[in-house]
């Protein structure tokens, strides 16, 4: 028997939930509002919430003055490139661990996760020096490499979690029917693996897009993605709040939308299927 829920209860919890949601979302909303204000309005007190002179000027200035698109392109190339390469390496590995596990598979998985416990700062110096000597500082390729390797353990884990849930009976059945390994891969396994691969791609793209430690330390201008571009507003001469807000809004918009679409996969992916 379903519990009867009183109307008052629903009204109260709904109001509370909306209040909590609004409070958590507020800093983002406030930033978006500021991006449409003039520099003066963004700065004055008392602050104006909705009744100000709405303008798109800041968005134009952000692109004009500091070439937002250049940095957005860097973000896209670095996040996309590192994710794709990581997938290329991780798909076969996760595949083999899920479908041909050995006694050591579990240890191997835990070892991979433990490399993620190696704090980036612990190896900052040698990576910086290697990059300097090989001319990789401030290069997109260098950042792709580092982010790819840094996220590889997580990618392997996520894929492993998804692949493990593909029922093995189907494979056996296909084999019984005389399917070759090639056919088995293309017609049986791939269609079932694609959703897992897509979720992993999405989540790692988000992680790589927002990654700030390596990008801040290994790039300055040429290869600098949006994380670094936004950080440049922290210098005293960069204190333009409305423009900072416009740049920030542009920097987070694509990833926020992607994230909203992938929130369900996020739970499974980032907790390695331990929570469903």
């Amino acid at each position: 028997m379903a519990r009867k829920i009183s109307t008052t209860h629903t009204v109260v919890t709904t109001a509370a939930a909306w209040l909590v949601g609004f409070l958590i979302f507020f800093p983002i909303l406030w930033m978006i509002l500021a991006s449409f204000k003039t520099e003066l309005e963004a700065f004055t007190t008392p602050p104006s919430f909705l009744f100000f002179h709405w303008t798109l000027e800041n968005y134009a200035t952000v692109q004009e003055r500091s070439d937002y698109l250049h940095h957005a392109l860097n973000s896209l190339i670095i996040a996309g490139g590192s994710t794709l390469i990581a997938l290329l390496i991780a798909v076969p590995a996760a595949w083999s661990m899920a479908f041909a596990p050995t006694k050591r598979t579990k240890d191997l998985l835990l070892w991979m996760l433990s490399t993620k416990m190696l704090p980036p700062v612990g190896v900052l110096v040698p990576i910086y020096l290697i990059f300097r000597d090989f001319g990789l500082l401030d290069s997109r390729f260098g950042l792709i490499l580092v982010l790819c390797l840094g996220n590889l353990p997580i990618v392997v884990w996520m894929l492993f979690t998804y692949f493990k849930e593909i029922p093995k009976d189907i494979l056996e059945a296909a084999r019984m029917d005389g399917a070759t390994i090639g056919k088995e891969l293309i017609h049986v396994l791939t269609p079932m693996a694609v959703p897992g691969i897509a979720s992993t791609l999405l989540l790692n793209f988000i992680l790589a897009w927002n990654e700030a430690f390596w990008t801040l330390n290994l790039s300055t201008s040429e290869a600098a993605p949006l994380t670094v571009f936004i950080a440049s507003y922290s210098s005293p001469e960069g204190l333009f709040w409305a423009k900072l807000s416009a740049a920030s809004t542009l920097a987070i918009a694509p990833i926020l939308i992607l994230g909203w679409f992938s929130q369900r996969q996020l739970v499974r992916g980032l907790t390695f299927g331990a929570v469903k």
Partner: protein, 290 residues
């Protein structure tokens, strides 16, 4: 059944990932160990010399180390505590019958997707600015003195920003776990006359134990290396009040160019992370079996 053929194929498919991760782990680590034994400053190239464990002695006895260790632990601990306690409350609230739940869910999860440099700057300039930030205006309107957050409560300010970023993650994981909780069990308890509190402590909380350990594991991995939030707001200051280990090593390496001491610090960070990892990985390993 895995045949001999698939076993061999399996190893071949696994090899690239394992080899790359081994290189990624061993080469920089070996170099860090090597540098940590040298007196090596990038400003004086060619002057490197072997000094044994001097860098470690220097790093570990530096008051900055103890301060940054303390800050690191306070930061990780507080953020974990805040996100898990508030995350549980938010999850419990969102688990109720509410109108427009999916929209509230989108608002709650949003901060997780904001890049750290953006959230740090927005909090610093638009909200916490002592003159024209929104908080200052609220406090003045209420007849109070506005707070200069980053000057008076620097570490707390950083904790606030980082907790805001990670609260959505905890809330979302815990909400998902709550939704998989067997409703009938809860109803049976309620019918037997259990109050809301005892239902929570005897049924809901045990059910959340596993997702909470997962949240602790994932958050710890990321929180130990919080960097951008400090880099763009306080730069580790005032004094050393917001310097965590990650930031301390960064400043020794790329501000003071002291490679030797930074490397020693890096190894100390690795050791600390591994002590934590030892426990955390075991918890996850146990979860894997189930």
């Amino acid at each position: 059944m895995a045949t001999q053929q698939t076993q061999t194929l399996g190893r071949m498919l696994l090899a690239p990932a394992v080899v790359l991760l081994l290189i990624w782990m061993i080469v920089p680590l070996a170099m860090t160990i090597y540098f940590s034994l040298l007196s090596y400053n990038l400003l004086n190239p060619g002057m490197e010399r072997f000094v044994g464990l001097e860098n470690f002695e220097y790093f570990l006895t530096d008051p900055a180390f103890l301060a940054s260790l303390r800050n690191t632990l306070v930061l990780v601990g507080s953020v974990l505590l805040i996100t898990i306690v508030l995350g549980t409350l938010v999850a419990l609230l969102l688990d109720q019958a509410i109108i427009g739940r999916s929209i509230v869910r989108l608002m709650v999860i949003a901060p997780f997707f904001v890049m750290p440099t953006v959230s740090a700057l927005v909090w610093k300039n638009l909200l916490m600015h002592p003159v024209s930030g929104l908080f200052a205006w609220i406090m003045t309107s209420l007849g109070m003195q506005p707070i200069d957050w980053f000057a008076e409560y620097p570490l707390f300010s950083i904790i606030l920003i980082v907790a805001w970023q990670w609260l959505p993650f905890a809330a979302l994981i815990l909400l998902t776990a709550l939704q998989s909780l067997d409703e009938e069990q809860k109803e049976a308890a309620l019918m037997d006359g259990a109050g809301a509190f005892s239902t929570f402590f005897y049924i809901t909380l045990p059910h959340l134990a596993r997702p909470i350990t997962v949240v602790i594991l994932i958050e710890t991995i990321f929180l130990l290396t919080v960097f951008a939030e400090i880099f763009v707001t306080t730069g580790g200051g005032p004094g050393l009040q917001t310097t965590n280990i990650a930031f301390l090593i960064y400043s020794q390496a790329l501000i003071q160019y002291d490679v030797g001491s930074a490397s020693a610090g890096g190894l100390v960070a690795v050791v600390i992370a591994n002590i934590l990892a030892f426990f955390l990985v075991r918890i996850v390993g146990r979860n894997l079996e189930a």
